[in-house]
Symmetry: C2
Subunit: 273 residues, 2 copies
């Protein structure tokens, strides 16, 4: 999927919402636990309820791995379901991988060749040769730059002798490895005060923006400084949508929450695009 | 397993070797591909051949994930086999995870509660709250500090206004989060020129040292500057042992290669401890 393809979807659906599938057996409605594959059943219900309001899904691998083999099976089935039923949806493996070259290559095989995801999130700490194996034709690397959590202050904001913060160095350096058709960046919604510095370095790239909702980021603040001429934003919401309601009516409530965000996004596109 | 427990094993086996189980279906002897679970059969043969020469195993998750469901099953079976047959062995999940708090917590559950690993490798980029969930009683975090690959130069060596490199900041900052009984650091064997700067900050910690063998690091150089009074080193070798021989005799050859390193390590313990 190209940048242009993404933008077409965004205009069509009037949405740049990515729904995070952080599915936790301890948080899904109890009646699902009696089914053969509770994680998959939950995901399917959420997907069918929200697909028209979003352009991307982002299963977070941690949630599937922590459920062991059944978790992996549910993950593979979820991906296959989306691919088959909603082929226009952009599929992000939120994995935050990054290892020496031959190992990153194995992860790339897992997520791109085997599972046919469109994108994978990658951690930059190990540098170029840990990222390159993920750069494949028609696939996307989404590199962590400035994350939404408190710990982002610990290292990402560290400045070198020229006053350049680590997240800025990551943005600059990684542009030598890949074009704006191959790489996006994770920039937390809670970092809206730093978005200007981000856009100075990567004016045209897409950014994956987690942290609205449960983590406290503000959509309008992000759009005002972050939106570019092809939108350039995929804003993720996980818990605020998928766990909005723990009753048997969870899918309907998730649809309503997703629609609410979609309407806000239509508004933002109208205002800032 | 405490630092002292590890040291007891090191003295007993006269070895501080960690064998990396980077098991790749494309590299294992062909006849194994006819068995029900080739990855597991390969691992079992390698483990039985090398257990007396090493004190730790380090399966690299990428290799198992890339084989999908069968890979995860083989990983779980391998871990269970080691736990049952060689309970004195230190088990490291080489996962290089690190995510916002609630997600890291899910990974910690996966590796520690579900799989009963002793340690997990964690990437520091997202800071304190991404690492803390892995700090559990009797378990170890092994934090990436200075890795063995070429890309380590891209960000890990970046210096701040005071001349402190990022890897040094990671070592210093993370000591506020955990004691030397809870945290170790990944320091590549190829970085022997920087080991002195590492040991200045973490004189007593254990270091996990990958990069001898296929990646070109030198064992004696590492021991000369890296060894401390409880050894303080777990030196990993993966490909140089497990793929030393692609014939049906692979396990015997692996044993010989592991023994060769163990004898060298006995020598180093005698010389530098």
């Amino acid at each position: 999927m190209t940048k242009q393809d993404l933008f077409v979807q965004i205009k069509k659906k009037q949405s740049f919402l990515c729904v995070g599938l952080d599915t936790d057996l301890n948080k899904i409605p109890e009646y699902l636990l009696d089914t053969d594959d509770p994680i998959y059943e939950f995901n399917k219900a959420i997907i069918n309820a929200t697909a028209k309001y979003c352009i991307a899904y982002k299963p977070n691998l941690a949630f599937y791995e922590s459920a062991g083999l059944e978790g992996w099976l549910a993950f593979e089935k979820t991906v296959a379901y989306i691919k088959q039923r909603y082929p226009e949806i952009f599929l992000i493996a939120d994995a935050k991988r990054g290892d020496i070259g031959n190992t990153s290559e194995m992860y790339a095989r897992a997520f791109f060749d085997k599972l046919r995801m469109d994108a994978v999130t990658v951690a930059p700490y190990m540098g170029e040769d840990s990222v390159r194996p993920f750069l494949k034709k028609d696939k996307w690397v989404i590199l962590l730059a400035l994350t939404s959590n408190k710990g982002s202050e610990d290292f990402q904001l560290t400045e070198d002798a020229n006053g350049e913060a680590l997240f800025e160095k990551v943005l600059k350096t990684s542009q030598q490895w890949a074009s704006e058709e191959e790489i996006m960046y994770v920039i937390g919604a809670t970092q809206d005060k730093l978005f200007e510095r981000v856009r100075k370095i990567v004016p045209n790239h897409f950014l994956l923006v987690p942290g609205i909702g449960a983590q406290g980021g503000n959509l309008e603040a992000v759009c005002r400084v972050g939106m570019n001429k092809t939108c350039g934003l995929l804003v993720n919401s996980s818990r605020a949508i998928i766990y909005a309601d723990s009753s048997d009516d969870f899918a309907n409530t998730a649809a309503k929450e997703a629609e609410k965000i979609q309407l806000e996004m239509a508004n933002m596109l109208n205002k800032y695009l």
